[in-house]
Point group: none
Chain length 260, copies 2
């Protein structure tokens, strides 16, 4: 991997080289020797050495004392890990949310759990009715939300009971879940169907259908939902909406795992 390409305008040469170097280390299996990477990149050893020691000081590169080989450092690992958090969810999700909005004509949402609440992190608003359960950034109790229920339905029963015990239930409308039994029944319904419904449990007059989104490493990281006025998102049409939501949730799961 020569560093052939001339440093495009407005690019910091040394940084560009350092990143190329990181990539070279990543490719080399079992670490690379200074002089080898230098040759591969077509750079003077002294230059590569300086870059490597700089990256070593920040833990992005690591010099194996025994083999004398350079490998990717732990810091590069921990920094890269955070890529898997939800910042990168939003990007791929947007076109999917828009498609979902256009299929259903209702508002499409993407949400995650954060400190035990469901948080909407992206949204494609209905073109017809500008009213959402929660605006982007808005928080809803997990058990009063379709997205929340879709996510925790993947948890073991024990964890769910625990959650209920820890934070209690907050019935906000007459239809909100009011007891642990109701919660467990509802959860088993969600598991059977493969999607969750918020049936006017947070705001009356608003209904919502949600499905879970899986990360590459098998964690339920988010949920996608469609929400709208109960008068339009009728009980009868829920299965229809659910089909679209489940499909799009699967699409997003795939998108965030596939992209490398």
């Amino acid at each position: 991997m020569r560093i052939s390409e001339k440093p495009g305008a407005g690019v910091v040469q040394s940084v560009d080289r350092a990143l190329a170097l990181l990539e070279a280390l990543a490719e080399s299996d079992g670490g690379a020797r200074l002089s080898d990477v230098a040759r591969d990149l077509g750079l003077p050893v002294s230059t590569v050495h300086r870059l490597l020691t700089t990256m070593q000081m920040r833990g992005f590169a690591h010099h194996e004392p025994h083999s004398g080989r350079w490998v990717i450092g732990h810091r590069a690992f921990s920094v890269g890990e955070t890529f898997a958090h939800h910042a990168n969810l939003v990007g791929p999700a947007r076109p999917i949310l828009r498609a979902l909005r256009d299929m259903t004509r209702e508002t499409a949402n993407l949400g995650v759990l954060e400190s035990e609440e469901a948080v909407t992190i992206a949204q494609a608003e209905s073109r017809e009715i500008k009213r959402a359960i929660a605006p982007p950034g808005g928080r809803v109790p997990i058990l009063n939300s379709g997205m929340g229920k879709a996510i925790i339905a993947t948890w073991p029963d024990e964890a769910i009971r625990n959650l209920v015990e820890r934070q209690g239930l907050r019935p906000m409308t007459s239809r909100s879940l009011g007891s642990l039994e109701e919660v467990m029944e509802e959860i088993s319904r969600v598991r059977d169907m493969g999607y969750a419904v918020d049936n006017e449990e947070f705001v009356s007059g608003m209904r919502c259908v949600a499905a879970v989104v899986w990360s590459a490493n098998g964690e339920p990281v988010a949920a996608i939902s469609v929400s709208g006025l109960a008068a339009r998102v009728t009980v009868a049409r829920v299965p229809e909406f659910a089909g679209s939501v489940v499909q799009k949730a699967a699409e997003l799961s795939k998108a965030i795992s596939g992209a490398a």
Copy 2:
């Protein structure tokens, strides 16, 4: 995170800054804005902008078109991944860690030794308490860590003495091991029990129970642990946790031996 520290000798300023920038992006949840990181790092916006676009060209940083926020790029992720030639460990470990997390409700960890420190390479976070001893990529001195002790307990005494002599002890809390005698006693305890306990020896208030994972050819390659607040992971419950940890460690050992 100011970049305060003067650029040590022999370090490339721009590269050092770029790496600090990556760390800042990683820390900021949900991305950071140009002017904010610039302020945080104490650097001119134009400089930060130049560094970011450089990193963007290589996919290490990514500019969310909608929110205008900068996040860690996919390349940083894929490069960081290779940190572990232990990759073949991490894959099989994930479902096992999740199961362990669900059995215990505490955070489950997988770690290896690297250049004489214990490094966490995978984790299933507790759903209830988001606080870990070390995040993925985090390093802990071997003798202040349950995982570290579990692994070196398989070494001959001579090698352990040698390690202690070479790197000394770093008592980080009042309970940390403080002398070679204490270490050897502790190690023999670990051997008797078949698991290691970090009893607030690295961070006070955090306790951890660990067991070793064996490779197909009988090398102690890793350790699995459960860690949590000392108030929840009480001394009385340690044997209970240990049962789960030992079981899961054995399961992983088997999984990585059976699989090619």
